[in-house]
């Protein structure tokens, strides 16, 4: 009740924040979170990733057809041995402060990324580069540590202006540039406020954008975002909601003001078992828990549409193994399995020796529908004599407690991947994201073999095998991947939502009055 009250009041408040004068050609959109940094190396949250796309350019981009296209580079040639690549840069490009873009900026970006004192999470993406050198004002030659197939695909990173970093290639998260960025992209930063960012069109861009201004407003409440989209027909609302909550999708299905467009992100939900927890290290218990949970029911009731998973790959993934049958709820079978394994019910909770099937279920408060999902799971597990103790914690604490200290038995979360699923860090016993303490030599061997192969067909086969093994052994209970839709105002024309990056082709978007 309180939530509903707060939601509806936030609608009116967000309306105060986002509505604008009638004559301005402004594209307005709300974000769930504030962008933390507009310095591309540190743009790690999705809100920052999307905004950086409007301000900066990369050498190449993936176009609407999924093909690679030159952006700051006009052409390129890979070295015959695939140990390097030569880019010819677009001429006449200017930074937002009027300075000329040149090959030195590309070299600087690579050197800055590789400087050991520049600390950022995606640093490993630059690890393959051995050296970069400018060849005149508009030529760059980059060499690699090892042969790389289709090396141009690795140059999607944004280019920084050398002249804006007086202290050299050591770039800090705290650099003022993160708040006052200078890019070559279609938009310049007008104001980076505490809860809003406004951008104005860059008239010097080689393909100037058609919408004059962009305004992003931090609007944490989803229902406020949806209401603002309902006003999108005229000037009162927003023109896009990036992630439309699934339960709200039907509102706009036959709307004459809003269209629904899929926003493809490679992501899936999972319930993680801590394999160091007593009871959960037993595959029978993990299997019984999986059999007790009705994923379709939870998905439909709380999150909307999506696909039920049988492993760590979504159906659109090249690694999806169609022979793997996702489990279906079977309470009877789950009870029978636990009985056979010697877990006897006492006072409603199963025990075997000193092992009691009562688990601490830690939830991130910021996860969508976290309370409803956990209540549903709790009720279903109760039917097989497994109890959970719910603990809801805020985001920072969740990361510390679950990911760092691993003080949990069960948890629920989502993984998102940039392009295709890379599950090595999740399930290899030495994987840096293996916070579940999972250790299975068969899985380790498969992942190691797959990693060392250069034959993509073989790699795919290994991944498909992995899919089957993980479905059987259940390091996680793989839940679902959601159908994600953006809501766009019908005032917008020429729209295309780039998977993951969202605004890559935003300069082609138009906003009719």
């Amino acid at each position: 009740m309180m939530n509903r009250l707060l939601s509806s009041l936030l609608v009116s408040c967000a309306l105060v924040a986002l509505a604008a004068p009638a004559d301005a050609q402004v594209f307005r959109y709300p974000e769930d979170a504030r962008p933390t940094s507009l310095l591309p190396f540190f743009a790690e949250d999705m809100s920052s990733v999307r905004m950086v796309e409007l301000i900066f350019d990369s050498l190449v981009i993936v176009n609407k057809r999924g093909d690679l296209e030159g952006s700051l580079a006009s052409s390129w040639t890979a070295d015959p041995d695939n140990m390097g690549i030569r880019f010819v840069l677009r001429e006449g490009v200017k930074w937002h402060d009027g300075r000329d873009f040149s090959a030195d900026d590309v070299v600087f970006t690579i050197q800055a990324a590789q400087n050991p004192k520049t600390v950022f999470n995606a640093k490993s993406k630059f690890g393959f580069i051995k050296d970069a050198s400018a060849e005149g004002q508009y030529g760059v030659h980059i060499t690699f540590n090892r042969p790389i197939n289709e090396p141009e695909r690795r140059f999607l990173f944004k280019i920084l202006p050398k002249h804006a970093f007086k202290k050299g290639t050591r770039i800090s998260r705290k650099d003022r540039f993160g708040r006052k960025p200078i890019g070559t992209g279609p938009y310049k930063v007008q104001k980076f406020g505490a809860r809003s960012v406004s951008l104005e069109v860059n008239p010097d861009y080689w393909a100037p954008a058609r919408i004059g201004e962009v305004l992003m407003q931090h609007t944490p409440d989803k229902s406020a975002q949806v209401s603002l989209l309902q006003y999108s027909g005229k000037q009162a609302g927003v023109q896009a909601v990036i992630f439309l909550p699934p339960k709200n999708v039907p509102i706009f299905e036959n709307s004459d003001q809003v269209t629904l467009e899929p926003y493809h992100t490679v992501s899936w939900w999972y319930m993680a078992y801590n394999h160091k927890s007593k009871g959960l290290n037993d595959p029978v218990v993990r299997d019984a828990i999986a059999l007790a949970i009705n994923r379709e029911e939870l998905l439909e009731a709380h999150l909307g549409r999506g696909d039920i998973l049988g492993g760590p790959f979504t159906e659109s993934s090249p690694f999806y193994n169609f022979e793997v049958e996702p489990r279906e709820q079977d309470i009877q079978r789950a009870n029978q399995m636990l009985d056979e394994a010697g877990y006897k019910k006492k006072g409603g909770v199963r025990r075997k020796g000193r092992t009691k099937l009562q688990f601490r279920f830690v939830m991130d408060k910021e996860l969508a529908s976290s309370q409803a999902l956990l209540l549903g799971i709790e009720a279903q597990l109760k039917k097989i004599g497994i109890r959970v103790k719910a603990q809801y914690v805020d985001h920072a604490r969740y990361r510390e407690q679950v990911f760092n200290r691993q003080k949990y038995d069960l948890t629920l979360n989502v993984w998102s991947f940039e392009e295709v699923e890379d599950v090595y860090p999740l399930f290899h016993s030495k994987g840096v994201m293996n916070f579940i303490n999972y250790n299975n030599s068969e899985v380790d061997n498969l992942l190691d073999t797959a990693k060392s192969t250069r034959d993509y067909k073989k790699y795919k086969e290994y991944m498909k095998q992995l899919h089957a093994v993980l479905n059987r052994d259940l390091p996680y209970y793989f839940l679902w991947s959601l159908d994600v839709y953006s809501g766009l105002s019908r005032q917008l024309k020429g729209t295309f939502i780039q998977p993951y990056y969202y605004f890559t082709s935003f300069e082609e978007w138009e906003l009719s009055p």
Partner: protein
């Protein structure tokens, strides 16, 4: 010792006490924030961030020191006006560059709400005069209605405004009305007016002021010295106003902490870009220098206001100093 000297000593003593209180408060705030589970690194770094990267970030963010050493270093630096840099909210920006403008808006909102509330209370007291049974029928329900916390008032109020906006938008082809949804980025004052209303109508603020003013006014009107002034045929307004100033100022100073507390949530509700929003967001992101910085501003304002009230009271009423005030 002259009265001025006694006054100065009392003021200095109060100021020293206030400063100590502030230092104590910053210690508690700093240690609490630093001891909270999860830190700024957890808030920003994705899962799988290598330990060496984390360690370097910890050092860069000054989180590699234990909270006590960290506090001492912070205290020494803050004495020179350097409150550190924001870690997550606006990475690298000096804390006060982030906190001061936001807090300024908050303070302006709170102070304006209090001033408006005071003016309304005085006007209402003058209009209604002395309390009577008939008036109690009116003020009784008003008491109950305004006893709700300010954020609850804000919720209800926002619902009403929301409904009005909906009706207006539908009837006017979705063109926003001039009287309401004017965005914060156009420097409009309307959202602040709405928030101010919630502050005045909530927490029993208006009725408290109203009752205090009316009681004071009634007492003064019936006071012997006023009767004497009247008997001489002089005007009483000046005398009444001067004698009302002190209790009103005390009430004002006493109320400010409550209003500043309420404003944190009310600001969030009305999406205002103030200290409340900053405090909540920075806490969520574990940006402890910003949290400490903005808390210092809140605490210093409250202590400063109380100090100011004491000094003014002492200037007006010599007995305050004579009693060691």
């Amino acid at each position: 010792m002259s009265r001025a000297a006694r006054l100065a000593i009392a003021a200095l003593r109060r100021a020293a006490g206030g400063l100590l209180l502030l230092v104590g408060a910053t210690f508690v705030i700093y240690i609490t924030i630093r001891s909270a589970p999860g830190d700024a690194i957890d808030a920003i770094s994705p899962m799988g961030t290598p330990p060496d990267v984390k360690a370097r970030l910890m050092a860069e963010f000054g989180l590699d020191r234990d909270p006590f050493t960290g506090y001492l270093a912070w205290l020494v630096r803050s004495l020179t006006g350097d409150f550190g840099e924001s870690l997550v909210f606006s990475p690298g920006a000096p804390v006060m560059e982030v906190a001061l403008p936001a807090f300024g808006r908050t303070l302006l909102l709170s102070a304006s709400a209090l001033v408006v509330c005071l003016i309304l209370a005085v006007l209402a007291s003058l209009l209604l005069g002395e309390s009577s049974r008939r008036q109690q029928l009116l003020t009784g329900p008003l008491y109950v209605a305004t006893a709700a916390p300010s954020f609850v008032v804000a919720v209800v109020f926002a619902q009403v405004v929301n409904w009005a906006v909906n009706v207006y938008l539908v009837q006017n082809d979705y063109v926003p009305p001039m009287w309401y949804p004017i965005p914060i980025y156009t420097e409009s004052l309307m959202p602040y007016v709405f928030a101010g209303f919630a502050l005045i109508a909530g927490d029993g603020l208006f009725m408290d002021f109203f009752n205090a003013v009316r009681a004071e006014l009634t007492a003064l009107r019936n006071a012997q010295f006023i009767a004497a002034v009247k008997a001489k045929g002089a005007r009483t307004v000046g005398h009444i106003a001067r004698n009302m100033f002190m209790p009103l100022l005390s009430g004002y100073a006493a109320r400010l902490p409550i209003v500043l507390g309420g404003v944190v949530i009310v600001e969030y509700i009305f999406t205002l870009d103030g200290g409340g929003y900053l405090l909540l967001e920075a806490s969520r992101e574990r940006d402890f220098p910003v949290v400490v910085g903005i808390s210092v501003l809140f605490t210093a304002t409250i202590i400063g206001m109380n100090l100011l009230a004491d000094i003014v009271r002492a200037v007006i009423d010599p007995r305050e100093v004579a009693h060691g005030g």
